[in-house]
Subunit: 169 residues, 2 copies
């Protein structure tokens, strides 16, 4: 995937949900007063390019380097944090605290592979509504609940087809 110059206003076919294209996101970035530098374009493209698999900052940095050789880990972290603050990407905290980044704008859950640690997007079922309702019923004198987070774990496609499905991680 190459980093195009900007795609100002141009609309491609909608991939997943609203504002999912690289161009749309770069536009959002600039609309809020931030420069769409080559590094930022490359980093954003790297996250988008990962698809359903969520990527660590280091992976993003590696992929981005292929598009813009000057990107650096510090810039990658800085940019990912900026994109997170702007709501363009999401940072999901993986089992042991390491973070992975997700560019899927649709509401969805995450599944962590017990074998290889991959974090993949999962379609959202009806859980959200139930949790929302349940959450309101969770009245506790010592804690006022205002939100929740669910995370599934299991085995990713690659590990399953390789027969590696017994680890503890």
């Amino acid at each position: 995937m190459a980093v195009t110059t900007a795609g100002r206003g141009r609309r491609r076919a909608v991939a997943r949900g609203t504002g999912a294209t690289l161009a749309d996101r770069l536009e959002a970035l600039e609309r809020q007063g931030y420069r769409a530098t080559p590094q930022r374009r490359a980093i954003l493209a790297a996250v988008l390019g990962a698809g359903r698999i969520n990527v660590s900052a280091e992976e993003v940095c590696g992929r981005a380097k292929a598009l813009c050789p000057t990107v650096n880990l510090a810039t990658t972290y800085r940019t990912l944090d900026l994109l997170k603050r702007l709501g363009i990407v999401r940072r999901v905290t993986y089992g042991d605290g390491r973070g992975v980044f997700c560019a899927n704008p649709d509401p969805h859950y995450h599944g962590t592979c017990l074998q290889c640690g991959a974090v993949v997007d999962l379609p959202r079922g009806r859980i959200a509504d139930v949790l929302e309702r349940e959450q309101r019923g969770l009245t506790d004198p010592a804690f006022a609940v205002v939100g929740h987070r669910v995370e599934f774990y299991g085995y990713c496609d690659a590990c399953r087809s390789a027969g590696r499905t017994g680890a503890i991680l």
Copy 2:
């Protein structure tokens, strides 16, 4: 709380759930071939003594030092990991990846305070069953779900009564 010598076989009134006393847990430790050293006793007592509030390794170390001055952070981590492997304590990963330890043997959820980061035990509602059912319905060609984890967030008692309920953390 003082660290008693062993309480071999002695049964006290059940506090919360099965095997919740210090003595019971030390017994379980020894039954599996590990020595109940003064350090291990102190560390276990420190986790137990925290009650509903879950404690970090560093906090455990501090509390344990009061009972056995020679405990050290490395031993604390080692022991907590051992106790986790034996199912005597549970390690819950708090928002940004730091871990806190929980000795409550009953099935329950955890709530993280958005203001101060405290992790407290929450009674389990009917959510578990719903999630269980939903989890089975979550068939995805790219991921085989085998379990889930829910985490609530909100404001703890202390922060609420101090009027600190607006942070982003």
